[in-house]
């Protein structure tokens, strides 16, 4: 029989420490919608998404009520559009005119995805994406060209581009292009502090079953539809660590592991129940500690509880490594299938403690980059001055991609050059996306490096066969 203390512990986690399931994300394959006619394709993808995810939001809400556990987001991820829609371009030639017409067609697909997301009531839909780690097809180039207008013109569509992998190396043509794409979408949404950039991620080693936005897409190796769940609970870890203040590292690690186990079990329960009720197979649990701007739901608070004055202080990378590793060790035993990104997220704008550390100058871009060597996922929701050049953005992306490629891990960049703003200003995105102090960027140039073009070959340790 379950004890009073255990019941109280769970309910305290929910009520006082913001324990929640961060997202139930339904992956939906669009491969069977492919065909040469754009109107037909748009109709098919709208029908498939709204049919498959029709009950997603209600089911999530019902499960939330049954267990008394908040399920914050319900989302949909689809097959990368550059794959699913490639057939539409068969009549177009690979010329400037063809590319322009193709990107018009893709922007229309983004609007269809937006309408479908709105119809089923999800707040984001991911998968307006291209996988170009080794090279890009005509379809990939058309999609990438359309990203700024697609994201500026829609509310719920998220996009990512995989520009590198440990097996393929880094596609530096794509990395160079990304800097310009980011600046273009910043300009198109300058009245909203470059909000479109918050819906776009560049990846190295992107995963096919990530339930978190903005980088979620439904991989080509996945089944027709799948339920992936992202757990959360930085507040719960912080509260648990308060009980072992000053204790040695073994005690610290044990405490994180035990807490992560409990958090993940709650996620596993929700995932299995959602899968059963929706009659859609369960995919994975993503063991990520994802903060929100709320006080008591912060990774920075955990780092401070571990003994750092501010995130960014010497010792921060070690603290993040401990946190990330022990969340995984506790979590893997709690779930039959762990996947996605699985790590501690450090999005600056979505964590009030990180915002404070950045504002104080304790947390810099360079320190964030070091932290991403030991945790998921990368430079996330970082605001930089609006006059940052495309080459510099590409250079920052290249550095982050190199960390992922060499260390055989996923890394990502979600960076926001805020038009008209500079160091000392704050960008406001609202809601879960929060607010970000504009951080200084190294002002020395990298144009000669970025403009070389081509592909950085994969590292020696990628040859494992």
């Amino acid at each position: 029989m379950i004890s009073r203390l255990e019941i109280q512990e769970t309910n305290q986690m929910i009520e006082e420490s913001n324990l929640d399931v961060r997202t139930i994300t339904m992956g939906v394959s669009l491969l069977d919608c492919a065909g040469p006619d754009a109107g037909e394709f748009n109709r098919k993808i709208y029908d498939k998404i709204t049919r498959t995810a029709e009950h997603l939001v209600k089911t999530g809400d019902d499960i939330s009520r049954q267990y008394g556990l908040p399920i914050v987001n319900k989302r949909v991820a689809v097959t990368p559009v550059a794959l699913a829609a490639a057939g539409l371009l068969s009549g177009l030639s690979d010329t400037e005119d063809g590319l322009s017409r193709a990107s018009e067609m893709y922007a229309e697909i983004a609007r269809t995805l937006d309408r479908a997301a709105s119809a089923v009531g999800v707040n984001f839909i991911g998968g307006y994406s291209a996988l170009v780690q080794k090279g890009s097809t005509f379809s990939d180039r058309a999609l990438i060209r359309s990203i700024p207008r697609a994201l500026a013109g829609t509310e719920r569509v998220c996009s990512c581009v995989n520009a590198g992998s440990t097996r393929s190396g880094l596609n530096m043509n794509a990395v160079r292009r990304m800097g310009r794409v980011i600046l273009e979408m910043a300009e198109l949404t300058k009245d909203r502090d470059a909000l479109a950039c918050a819906k776009f991620v560049v990846f190295c080693n992107a995963v096919e079953d990530n339930p978190f936005m903005a980088g979620a897409f439904h991989g080509a190796g996945e089944r027709d539809a799948v339920i992936n769940v992202g757990v959360s609970g930085p507040g719960v870890v912080k509260r648990a660590l308060e009980q072992v203040r000053g204790a040695d590292f073994e005690t610290l690690c044990e405490t994180i592991k035990k807490t992560a186990f409990k958090i993940t079990r709650a996620g596993q329960l929700v995932a299995q129940e959602a899968s059963k009720r929706l009659r859609v197979p369960f995919g994975i649990i993503d063991l990520s500690l994802a903060p929100t701007p709320a006080v008591g739901d912060s990774i920075a608070e955990i780092l401070r509880e571990m003994g750092l004055e501010q995130p960014g202080a010497p010792g921060t990378t070690a603290a993040v490594a401990i946190l990330n590793d022990n969340v995984k060790k506790g979590g893997v035993m709690a779930s039959s299938y762990v996947g996605g990104l699985s790590g501690a997220f450090i999005p600056v704008s979505e964590d009030h403690g990180m915002i404070e550390a950045a504002r104080l100058g304790a947390l810099t871009l360079e320190k964030l980059e070091a932290m991403t060597c030991v945790c998921s996922v990368g430079l996330d929701m970082v605001a930089v001055p609006g006059d940052t050049s495309a080459e510099t953005l590409s250079g920052i992306i290249a550095d982050e991609m190199a960390i992922g490629m060499i260390n055989n891990k996923t890394t990502a960049v979600r960076i926001i050059p805020v038009p008209g703003k500079t160091v000392g200003d704050t960008a406001e995105f609202g809601g879960l996306l929060g607010r970000a102090p504009v951080m200084p960027v190294n002002s020395f140039g990298c144009g000669g490096f970025i403009s070389r073009g081509g592909r950085i070959p994969p590292p020696i340790h990628s040859f494992r066969n």
């Binding site: 009073r4 019941i7 049954q66 267990y67 008394g68 556990l69 329960l269």
Partner: protein, 87 residues
């Protein structure tokens, strides 16, 4: 299927009676009750048999009852607790 009911709020006469009467009126069998006063606050845990019951209706009814008498009443499926605390 078992449900866990937690009741929390300022102590007053008749909380247990009202909750029990509500459950009896809907044919919900109470399997276990424990109740205590923590720093002046009434705190009660009940384990109830929810087999054949409409979970949503009972949960909503309890929520409404809690608001009427000024305490917080929550019904949760027991699996959330067993999953988190038992291997």
């Amino acid at each position: 299927m078992k449900g866990i009911i937690t009741v929390l709020g300022a102590d007053q006469v008749g909380i247990i009676a009202k909750v029990c009467a509500f459950l009896a009126g809907r044919g919900v069998n109470i399997l276990d009750i424990s109740q205590t006063i923590v720093r002046g606050y009434f705190s009660m845990l009940m384990i109830v048999d929810m087999s054949g019951q409409a979970f949503e209706d009972i949960a909503e009814g309890l929520d409404g009852l809690g608001r009427a008498i000024g305490v917080l009443i929550k019904l949760q499926h027991e699996d959330i607790f067993t999953t988190m605390h038992r291997i």
